[in-house]
Amino acid sequence: MWVSLGAVRAVAACALGFEDVRAIEVRQDLPSGVVGAHVALVGERTCCQIGLVSTPNGCQRLAKAFLEIHAATPGLLPGDLVDAVGEIVNIVAGCVKTRMAPSDPTLRIGLPVFVSGVLEPSGAFVTEVARLLIGDVDAHLVVARAVR
């Protein structure tokens, strides 16, 4: 979780223009009504899903920040929102992979998947959720890690 949080901080500062990312709480589940993107990281020693989710409006804010579109402009079309949030999470996963490469050089990144609702991993996964404030956007970082 802490490696992923560091990656979110790096991506928020460099790609979204949000210097301030605060972890509000760590929890085991997500609130209802959230949407967002998830990417798999799989290697010989590690298997996990990394997700970044928020309300539909929160995802719009993150996507507009990524694209440097003013927050007050009309909402992105669904396809553009899915694409932008997926790419944000893809970059987060890339940062995580780079940071974890010394401990598992076999790690590979999957393609992002956009999920409306809660990802339900099987019992083989332990899920941690961190509620974050990315700038003033309320979001949740999800790390579902396979227990081996």
Partner: protein, 120 residues
């Protein structure tokens, strides 16, 4: 100069084009492709001077694209713009003939530095 930008994310292609403009490189002819297969076709039809490609894409990934270009005898200058910036990825990219690897998230300066070295 013609630059082919290859990324499965439309948002990222737009960001790369914006960054090229911010780096003072926006005056070039910019062409887009959303995966390696499209990029290979674009290389055959429009002969770019430089390919900026993502690594992890559906259909044909960036490394497969680079190897396919070299197999067909294309000497086009090639750089990766990818979320994966580990030393091993950089070494693999260089061994395959890539001139540089820009890791996402990137800065305008990173683009300017890499492209100025690749396109003196």
């Amino acid at each position: 100069m013609r630059i082919l930008i290859v990324d499965d994310s439309r948002a990222m292609r737009a960001i790369i084009m914006r960054t090229l403009r911010q780096a003072g490189l926006g005056g070039h002819d910019l062409v887009e492709a959303s995966n390696g297969v499209e990029a290979l076709s674009a290389c055959r039809s429009s002969s770019p001077d430089l390919v900026l490609s993502d690594w992890n894409m559906p259909e044909m990934n960036g490394m497969e694209l680079l190897l396919a270009l070299r197999r067909m005898g294309s000497p086009v200058k090639f750089g990766f713009v990818t979320s994966e910036g580990s030393p091993e990825m950089r070494r693999t990219a260089a061994e395959a003939g890539a001139l540089f690897l820009i890791a996402k998230p990137f800065t305008t300066d990173a683009f300017r530095f890499a492209l100025e070295r690749a396109m003196p």
